[in-house]
């Protein structure tokens, strides 16, 4: 695990949600672009079919570094639920279905591996202090949405964490913001399901590092989402999950969305 002193190219993503097809497509795309390293910021499980299929891809690659998400923590410790605690009985119902399914189908050895994943990574990229976390630097399950984080709050998080660049995931919707003082906060979003914007493709973050600048762009990856939707249904998982995959609009767990992000979606 390296610091980068001259220049480099790095890929980051989060929210795999059992989607082994988009995971493979993301990693292939990143490698094609010649990245030096790949970072996965957590939440391997949930939502999609066949939980065990993501692990060979993640565990057998020496260029991928992996953080623990809250879902990984729950599955790793064999807890009863994902701890999301929705108010809407409908959201709770769907969250529990995917959690129970993932808990039951994840092999013990993978659960142990999830349990033992690290909670953050720190790097030095050309004199810039980089921090990667799942939710926020202070809490694994804190949501950092674009519309609900003031500039001064993000600056506070960076100050406290002693970082110049922060990468997080957890919300499922990516965004990036350059603060007035030049520091950078990026939510890398999720590759396991679309970002509630009507596209079926998913995004990962591609970072170009040089002594002069760190530039982040989101790269869209297409994968065989029809196949994933078919497998969701053949595994007996709810149609609503397959619908999100094929339409690009979230149909469940909408309660976590702030007003702004909610209004951007269809439901």
């Amino acid at each position: 695990m390296s610091n980068l002193n001259t220049r480099g190219r790095v890929a980051l993503f989060g929210g795999v949600y059992n989607n082994y097809l988009s995971l493979q497509a993301t990693i292939d795309d990143a490698r094609r672009r010649g990245v030096d390293e790949i970072y996965c910021l957590g939440d391997m499980g949930g939502f999609g079919p066949h939980p065990n299929r993501v692990f060979p891809i993640l565990r057998q690659s020496s260029d991928i570094h992996i953080l623990q998400g809250n879902y990984d923590h729950s599955i790793g410790h064999r807890l009863d639920d994902c701890g999301c605690g929705y108010t809407d009985p409908r959201d709770n119902h769907f969250a529990q279905i995917s959690y129970d399914y993932t808990l039951e189908k994840t092999a013990d050895s993978h659960k142990d591996w999830l349990r033992d994943l690290p909670g953050e990574f720190r790097r030095q990229w050309c004199d810039r202090r980089v921090l990667m976390a799942h939710g926020s630097p202070r809490r694994i399950n804190e949501f950092l949405w674009e519309s609900t984080c003031s500039d001064v709050f993000l600056a506070y998080l960076l100050d406290t964490a002693q970082a110049d660049i922060l990468f997080v995931t957890h919300t499922g919707i990516g965004w990036k913001r350059r603060l007035p003082d030049g520091r950078l906060v990026v939510n890398v979003g999720a590759i396991g399901r679309p970002a509630n914007d009507g596209r079926t493709g998913v995004d990962y973050a591609l970072v170009e590092i040089s002594a002069e600048a760190v530039e982040v762009s989101f790269v869209e990856v297409e994968y065989d989402h029809h196949r994933l939707a078919r497998e969701i249904l053949s595994e007996g998982l709810p149609e609503e999950f397959a619908e999100s995959i094929t339409t690009g609009w979230w149909t469940t767990c909408l309660e976590i969305l702030p007003a702004r992000e909610r209004a951007a979606g269809r439901f």
Partner: protein
């Protein structure tokens, strides 16, 4: 916090309370960081006088005055220096403030804002201004409307005669203007908090064309006017040292919020009329630890209440 932990903790509290009636010191709670600044923009002035109001708000209550634009600005500026994440406006009824539009714009310049309202004053002009503001603002802008029953009689028994229809009309106007307001329900009727009770609200709103409503359920605090309606706290309903682990501390909103009113600074939106809760004149005076010695703190802990959305 996971459910088992909470249940265990509550049991521990209750067992100990049963064993001993001796008062022991209240837990101390640090302010981790000022994530949320609450502003009591209209003080205790309200166009309703709900029977379950945990502050005794009403048309004649001037314990806390309306805040001036300068007072609001000053608190916002100080909070911005602290790295505040978000703002909440409440009252009373915020839309009674003559400068409410200015206040909303000031707050939204610095961070996301939620306005808590009873919905009665939301006419078409106001709704369309709120809709435009929502679309224009850089940060999230949320309106939260209180509704306390799925029938006229259930709601009006608490909020006053005729309010059920007016609240729903206000909600309809917000929705027509492109907002998706959060509906807040106080679970004074215990059954409203249960699964079926909650479902009824989802059904009611769906009938009115709000297919995927946003709802928040809040346990009542047995203080203010609610104390006279439903009874106050028992002696054993107090937090004591040792009740709180780190997770429980973090879950209490007062580890990361403060409330500013025209009268000064308070730990949270709940205690503004409680004697001894006032922390000083200015937000600065409130940026320090508190003692959780109020019975309402017991509700926050046991019910896991937070006034945030």
């Amino acid at each position: 916090m996971n459910k088992l932990d909470t249940r265990e903790l509550i049991q521990r509290v209750e067992q100990r309370a049963a064993l001993s009636s001796e008062p022991s010191a209240a837990p101390h709670l640090e302010l981790d960081h000022l994530d949320t600044l609450w502003l009591q923009v209209t003080g205790t002035l309200c166009n309703l006088a709900c029977l379950h109001c945990f502050i005794s708000c009403g048309p004649k209550n001037d314990n806390h005055d309306m805040m001036s634009v300068e007072q609001v600005d000053e608190a916002i500026d100080r909070a911005v220096e602290e790295g505040v994440k978000e703002f909440y406006f409440t009252g009373g009824e915020p839309f009674m403030h003559p400068d409410i539009e200015t206040l909303i714009e000031r707050a939204l310049r610095h961070g996301p804002l939620t306005v808590l309202t009873n919905g009665i004053l939301i006419d078409e002009d106001l709704a369309s201004w709120l809709g435009e503001t929502f679309r224009r603002a850089r940060y999230s802008f949320d309106v939260r409307v209180s509704l306390d029953g799925t029938t006229r009689s259930e709601n009006d028994a608490l909020r006053g005669r005729g309010t059920f229809e007016k609240i729903l009309a206000g909600i309809d106007r917000l929705v027509a203007a492109g907002l998706n307001p959060v509906i807040t329900v106080t679970t004074c009727h215990a059954e409203l908090g249960g699964r079926e009770g909650r479902q009824k609200f989802f059904d009611l709103l769906a009938e009115r064309g709000i297919q995927r409503p946003r709802l928040k359920f809040l346990a009542p605090f047995k203080i203010g006017r609610e104390e006279r309606r439903g009874g106050g706290y028992q002696d054993y309903e107090r937090l004591r040292k040792g009740d709180l682990d780190d997770q429980a501390r973090q879950a209490l909103q007062c580890s990361s919020c403060r409330m500013v009113t025209s009268e000064g600074v308070y730990p949270c939106p709940i205690l503004i009329e409680e004697k001894d809760a006032r922390m000083g004149d200015k937000l600065d005076d409130g940026l320090k630890a508190i003692e959780l010695d109020h019975p309402a703190c017991y509700t926050c802990f046991v019910e896991g209440v937070t006034c945030r959305t």
